[in-house]
Symmetry: C2
């Protein structure tokens, strides 16, 4: 029954991706050795690399998976919600904070690896597009300020997200970031609170 | 005459710092070889390392020098002006765009080197303090919004600066950033333009 096989395959891939995500988050890309990936996924290296050609392919699958999940959140709740999940993971759910590990490695490669930069452009464009579309819908609904171009608001939000990733990458505390993200959110909205 | 000696010493140090700054900006820290530092400064390695113990000391002197210059700009014109100079160096003046090279190396070390992070904390605090003081003066002058805490506004501006540095580090274009920085500036001001 090929359908069952496909389900089994998907579940196994999901198990590997979830384990690998927390492994990259904890140890970084370089530190995520095959032995640690085995521990984190509960699978042998044979099983892991049956599904993913090598560590690089595994990382890219993870990064693409994360972009899809971020895109979903953006579509429903906006880019600021992605930022909030970066700094304050919910107690339940599937470890949104682990995004940071992948995101940091993506940022590092974008800075140091022009080839990766070219390959990543399409993925990055997905998130920009989702952010832009969300803002356009918000504008139609009358929730967005209308004196600033949507492209400018999109770039603004992306710039703050990148700043937040960088902030966290430097090991700086994020426990005072909530009011800053409130300010960011309010900046793109129609009305200023308290005015 | 020790006074003349001191002036000569200062001028020589300045010559080395200026040359090294553009050398780091062009080639990065690792790529700024002693040979390239000689070319950029127009001085022999003997002369350079008479004034600075090693490349590391030279880099730190440069980074501290840049923080002082950024602090001066912040005091007079605010942190957004620092961002504007990062993306659009004036035709005249002493190469403010070269700050980027130093700033990127500082960011990289903050991410990867906990010891540097501890040593750098005091420098970084200077800039935060200058930003905060500038905002307090602006608030007193009635130019700043008064419904958001100055610490929150300070963190907001620093987050955007970090995002901008990261954006530039990834080789992304900054030619569409001016309206974004206008939005950032307006966000901390008392009145929204166009309202």
């Amino acid at each position: 029954m090929p359908r069952v096989s496909q389900d089994h395959l998907d579940a196994r891939k999901r198990q590997i991706l979830d384990g690998a995500r927390s492994c990259f988050a904890r140890h970084g890309y370089e530190g995520a050795t095959v032995r640690r990936l085995e521990e984190a996924t509960g699978l042998s290296r044979g099983a892991i690399f049956h599904h993913f050609r090598d560590k690089e392919s595994l990382f890219l699958a993870l990064a693409e998976d994360d972009v899809l999940r971020m895109t979903d959140i953006v579509a429903e709740q906006g880019l600021v919600q992605v930022m909030r999940e970066l700094i304050a993971p919910p107690a339940e759910g599937d470890h949104p904070a682990d995004w940071l590990g992948t995101r940091l490695e993506v940022s590092r490669r974008l800075r140091t690896d022009p080839e990766f930069r070219a390959r990543w452009a399409a993925r990055s464009e997905q998130l920009t597009k989702a952010t832009r579309q969300r803002l356009l819908r918000q504008r139609e609904a009358g929730n967005l300020r209308d004196d600033v171009d949507v492209d400018v608001l999109t770039s603004f939000l992306e710039l703050v997200l990148e700043g937040l990733v960088s902030h966290l990458a430097m090991g700086l505390p994020a426990d005072d970031m909530d009011p800053v993200l409130d300010l960011v959110e309010e900046t793109v909205r129609r009305h200023r609170r308290g005015f």
